[in-house]
């Protein structure tokens, strides 16, 4: 009859704890991004003279919050702000990484005058 020894059970629990602490958690990242976007451009209308500053603020704020999570990841954050005037925009991304540890998430935000698309890529160290 097969029976797990106490030592084996302890090891399994440690593994589960570590992987939760070091995984790329899409929901957590998504929340951070949404807050960064709202904080930087919420309530504003598209303005050519300010959009440079806005994209910078969104990526910097997002990155700052992500690094505060203290996880062993390298991050890449990209932000696109586009004026709503009927033009078509298509984006795609492809990644060569470790499927078991790395991840990405994309947040799409809009208001009456513009679209904002933020992508975050997290690569485990």
């Amino acid at each position: 009859r097969y029976c797990c020894s106490p030592a084996t059970i302890t090891v399994l629990h440690a593994f589960v704890f570590v992987s939760c602490q070091t995984a790329f958690v899409v929901d957590e990242v998504s929340t951070i991004i949404k807050e960064s976007v709202e904080g930087a451009i919420g309530g504003n209308a598209y303005q050519h003279s300010r959009v440079n500053q806005w994209t910078t603020n969104v990526v910097e704020q997002s990155l700052s919050q992500l690094s505060k999570l203290g996880k062993p990841f390298k991050y890449i954050v990209t932000c696109v702000i586009m004026q709503k005037n009927g033009a078509g925009l298509q984006t795609a991304s492809s990644c060569f990484w470790d499927n078991t540890t790395d991840g990405s998430c994309t947040v799409r935000w809009e208001n009456k005058s513009m679209y904002c698309i933020v992508s975050v890529f997290g690569l485990a160290i």
Binding site: Y46, H48, V51, N52, W54, T55, T56, V58, V59, E60, S62, L63, L66, S67, F73, K74, Y75, I76, V77, T78, C79, V80, I81, M82, Q83, K84, N85, G86, A87, G88, L89, Q90, T91, A92, S93, S94, C95, F96, W97, D98, D102, S104, S119, F121, L123
Partner: protein, 106 residues
């Protein structure tokens, strides 16, 4: 993942990557006009081919390739990116391409 090198640190060669990506873009959309029905396919092809070429260089890197195609219609488009990584080994490059009817940023 396979072992790639003898343990020396390599750094990202942006010029080489840039050249590979420009060739991929030319091959896939060079000479074509913006077409809403096809643009989905184009972005997917560009990222896949670019990634394949980059991986073929055989360097010990993970890659992320992003492509945006936008119709030329007077709209403003701004992009920014920020990276939290090892500045000694990691790097990025951006390629901007355009023709009469569209912009492509990779």
């Amino acid at each position: 993942m396979e072992e790639y090198n003898s343990g020396e640190e390599v750094s990202f060669n942006a010029d080489e990557a840039s050249v590979s990506v420009k060739e991929c873009i030319e091959v896939i959309i060079g000479g074509l006009d913006y077409n809403q029905n096809k643009v989905n396919q184009w972005t997917a092809s560009i990222v896949e081919h670019s990634l394949t070429q980059l991986v073929k260089q055989g360097r010990p890197f993970k890659f992320i390739v992003n492509c945006a195609i936008m119709q030329k219609s007077g709209a403003g488009l701004h992009t920014a990116n920020s990276c939290y990584w090892d500045t000694a080994t990691d790097g990025s490059c951006t390629v901007r391409w355009e023709n009469r009817t569209m912009y492509c940023v990779v």
